[in-house]
Each structure stands twice: as C-alpha cells, then as structure tokens.
Symmetry: C2
Subunit: 165 residues, 2 copies
C-alpha cells in the first residue's frame, strides 16, 4: 500500500503558499518549477485541493493559486484526503457472512471485529495528521531549511514576482 506521489507535491505546495504573503497568487507552472516536478500533472493535484475548498484559483494574467483560509486552519489530513480521496484503507466485504456458516444477516454484530481493529488503526493515523497544520509545517520548513537555500528561494521569488508585474 502506498500513497500517490501527488500527495507529497500537494503538501509541499500548500506549505510554500503558506509561507508567501496572503495576497500572492502562484500559478501551477511556477509551483512545479520550484519543486522540480512535472507541471501538467501537478495541476491535477492542485485542482483536487481547489475542489476540496483548500485552495482558491484565479484565472487571467496574474492568476494562480492561493490558500483559501489561514494556514493554521488547514491540517495535513485535509490535504491528504483532498488528493487521495476520503475512502478508508480497509474495506470490509463482510466475508464472515458468507460461506457454509452463513446465517441471516440480522443475526451478526453490526461491525466485524477485524474491520473494527483496522478502522481504529486508521483513526489513529488520521488523528495524527489532523493534529498537524500547514502553518506548523511551514514553520518547521523555515527553521530547518539551509540559510543558503532560503536566500536562493527569496531571490527566485523576487524575480518571478517582478516578472508578473
């Protein structure tokens, strides 16, 4: 089992947008360039974030994406579910009710014990992710990033923003 690559890209894009001034829009092509990932496919993930209400998109000359609400109001879980979908890892097909020992469906307990344990584990996973905000990740990124990298990033953004008028 593995998460799609788009999840990593989407999270880093959200963190980057959180580090920028609130009124700045950044197009998908620039986000892709900054992260060194294929642009057209990154757009797919960004569209998912927009559809989930996490990002706002603006068209036209100075358009692009920006966070739709404060970075401390967006959790890591929000981003992951927006890209991957909100399906559970484990899908119970109720095989306990099949085969030669099957009886009337109403006789069974509402939740299979196996499914209950699997879902409890997934709940723990979600709880951790929902306890981390994009703002916190942005803070960590700023704290851990090498000074030279931050300098280069600031220079790159200055160039991009000036080119956009």
């Amino acid at each position: 089992m593995r998460l799609g690559e788009g999840v990593e890209w989407a999270v880093h894009c959200a963190v980057l947008l959180a580090a920028l001034p609130d009124d700045v829009c950044l197009p998908a092509s620039r986000l892709a360039q900054f992260h060194g990932v294929p642009g057209p496919y990154l757009a797919k993930s960004l569209q998912a974030l927009t559809g989930a209400g996490l990002l706002e998109s603006r068209g036209g000359r100075k358009g692009g994406y920006r966070l739709s609400r404060a970075a401390d109001q967006i959790t890591l879980l929000d981003v992951v579910l927006a890209v991957e979908g909100d399906e559970t890892f484990f899908r119970c097909t109720e095989i306990r009710r099949r085969g030669p020992s099957a009886v009337a469906p109403r006789a069974y307990s509402p939740v299979c014990g196996v499914a209950g344990a699997m879902w409890r584990a997934e709940r723990a996973w979600r709880d951790v992710l929902s306890g981390v905000t994009i703002a916190e990740l942005a803070g960590i990124a700023l704290r851990d990033a090498p000074a030279a990298a931050q300098t280069k990033a600031v220079a790159w953004f200055g160039e991009v923003l000036s080119a956009r008028g």
Copy 2:
C-alpha cells in the same frame, strides 16, 4: 489509497486457523470455500503469510496451512505487512532539495518536516495494529458470531475433517 482485498482474507484465515486445534492443517481450497472467496487467488496471500513465517505449510494428502506460532504471538500488523509488504505509505522524494533553491545536500536537515509528520502518523497506525493479536480477534469473533453460525461452522468442519481421514 486502499489496502488490497487479500489483506481481509488473510486476516480472517489467520483468525480461523487460530480457532482450530493446533495440530490441524487446512488447505487453501477449504479456507477459500469457508470464506466464499476465489480459491486460487487466496493461495497467493497464504503464500505471502508463509513466506513471512506466520504460517507453516505442509504438502501431501493431509497437508495444508496452520499457524507457525501461538495466536497471541501474531499481531494484526504482522499479517498486514506480510500481505501488503513493509513499505511505508509515504515515500519522501526529497523535493525540497530540488528546484531553483537547491543547495548542497549535506546542508539539509536529515528528515524533511513533511515526511516526519507523515511517518509519525503511520507509526501510530502500526502501533494500533501491533497491539491487536490474532488470538484477540479470534476471541471477538467467537463472542460476536451468531450461535446458529457457530453451529453450522462446527458441522462443516466436522464434515471436512472426517473426509480427510
């Protein structure tokens, strides 16, 4: 993101084997029949469990599968990892080190903040699964199963075991 169907089958098979006497071997075909799942494909999951050392397989006339150790020494996590592989959900491609702000790799912190949070969540998921044993699941299944279903199951097993000599 979703777990393969084989996980559910493998867990239920392990629970079933845990409920049987220790010296009984049950072939894949019977396990599939009891659970109402495609036999040849279930064998694939059982082979994975055997490869991971959770099950022992015996060939020949009275062959089949049985648990390789006590059911309270096998956790739900063991079974899930055996079938799905022990890869992490999230794979960090270190995109923070790419693009126009990249600097020397040694300058970066050892673990990306995003990856750290994702892996902490996965750790929570694994902790829950590793805290549940197959023996516990078997106990829950016996407690929750309808009495009529247990009666039919016992009858079916009696028939199967007598046919095997």
